[in-house]
């Protein structure tokens, strides 16, 4: 078991989400930054899809009640084990009664914590990803006990650590495909949309990222159609909505872009006030 001593800003259990239930209106969910979450699992020898904890901006505090290996990836939140600093992107052996905490956010927005064989919390529709109305809880709370697999002895860590490409956290360029309704914008607007810099609004969350800036347009709503995580909608009032992993399955706003999978992961590490620019590919 792993015990939540203190919750952070918003911590959830996530794997790669629910695939195949969208025809019932069920969101995909799943880790926001698949790249970092896969890394957390790979470094300790897990299946890439093993369930991890996703923390947002402010980390949580965990107490371990078993031997296991852990790895922290994604945003740098200055993690510590029993008060001593530990590195991101490194396999670390923990013992019963060890306490994992986090400090100040240095870069990124979301950190991932993996444990040997993943967190074994409730599985609904082939996924452990927390989502309101699907799982019994939609975020972790103080006092939660998270089951993990039993390890008899100390797990030996390799003490090797992986260097990651900081560009993943720092680049402002968000690669996109043209969306189905992109061509309905006039040429001037098309050009502007690919040049303008946008600031991430504080209303952004796992469902969608929004921007402080508006984008004037005269696009008409469409007949409700399909959307995916990464679809960028443009409302008549000029709000751009970048749909994220917990988004709805259908929508009626024009779809001007679709983020690449890589861009989805990079976007997930952007924090309020961060700047982005859309780069159209192909």
């Amino acid at each position: 078991m792993v015990e939540v001593l203190k919750a952070g800003l918003f911590d959830t259990i996530q794997d790669f989400g629910r695939i195949g239930f969208q025809e019932f209106g069920v969101p995909f969910s799943g880790v926001m930054d698949e790249n970092s979450a896969s890394l957390a699992n790979s470094i300790i020898g897990n299946d890439q899809n093993a369930a991890v904890i996703e923390c947002t901006v402010i980390g949580l505090q965990l107490k371990f009640h078993a031997h296991t290996l852990i790895c922290i990836t994604g945003a740098q939140m200055n993690p510590n084990l029993n008060g001593l600093p530990i590195k991101n992107n490194t396999a670390i052996s923990v013992r019963p009664n060890d306490i994992l905490g986090f400090g100040r956010l240095e870069y990124g927005c979301r950190s991932y914590i993996s444990v040997s064989n993943g967190f074994l919390t409730e599985e609904i529709m082939a996924s452990r990803s927390m989502y309101q109305g699907i799982t019994s809880r939609f975020k972790l709370q103080k006092g939660d006990l998270l089951p993990i697999s039993k390890e008899e002895k100390d797990k030996t860590a390799t003490f090797s650590s992986i260097k990651i490409n900081k560009n993943h956290f720092q680049s402002q360029d968000i690669e996109v495909f043209k969306g189905p309704e992109f061509d309905k914008l006039n040429l001037k607007q098309q050009k502007l949309l690919c040049e303008q810099q946008f600031t991430i609004s504080k209303d952004s969350n796992r469902m969608a990222y929004l921007f402080d800036e508006c984008f004037d347009n005269a696009l008409h709503p469409i007949i409700t159609s399909l959307v995916l995580p990464g679809t960028v909608q443009l409302t008549p009032s000029g709000q751009l909505i970048v749909l994220m992993r917990d988004c709805q399955t259908t929508g009626g706003y024009p779809r001007v872009f679709q983020l690449t999978e890589k861009a989805m992961n990079m976007m997930s590490q952007k924090f309020f006030g961060g700047k982005v620019r859309f780069k159209c590919i192909k």
Partner: protein, 243 residues
Amino acid sequence: MDFELTYRQFSERSILVEWPSEITENMLHDVLNFKNHLLNSNIKSLVQINNAYNSLLIIYDITIDKLNNEVYALNALYSSRASILKPAFKLWKIPVCYDDEFALDLIEISEEKRLSKSKIIKLHYEAIYTVFFIGFLPGFLYLGGLNKQLYFPRKKSPRQRIKKGAVAIGGEQTGIYPNVSPGGWSIIGNSPVELFKLNDDIPCFANAGDKIQFFPISNAEHSAILSQIASGAYQIESEVIDG
């Protein structure tokens, strides 16, 4: 009848197929017919296909390298689909309590429309609705077939908390909120039936292409059905209708 379809790559692993921009039942049948044909065609690397009114999103588990090849294959399958004029469907009979206790906006609609409450209720349950697809929330049915006299604009500011089972009108649509949620539609009743069963293999009883008919029940019947559902003794009435 063949529609003019457009194919475009939507993301690395998905292709969007679009029919002309309109909402008709004939087109829904063609969308679903093509969807089923694709599902039965053993397409390599297919993960899932979702439909809306006039579109299909085909999701693969590998990156699409050559869009033209995929589109060519899809188009050939479209041409080879069997033509179904009127497919068989299920008609589901859904109980709705239109009592004042639930029908929070019925008076407002009645005053605006200058229709009596009982007339509005009758127009609502007399119609037979078509399920076009499920979206917005888990288990939310997009229904077509609302009587024009009942079209009613969405609220300017949505309610923060709409009760589970609320039956509502929003613009040219009617629907049932499968769970507590915020929402901007006007509420005219409540249905006790479960639209989304979390632990069932197939969580929704209705499929795209099915029909829904509402029938009015009293407040007491509403409570009785709720307790039958709680004890697992309630079954939604349905019949299969050949096309």
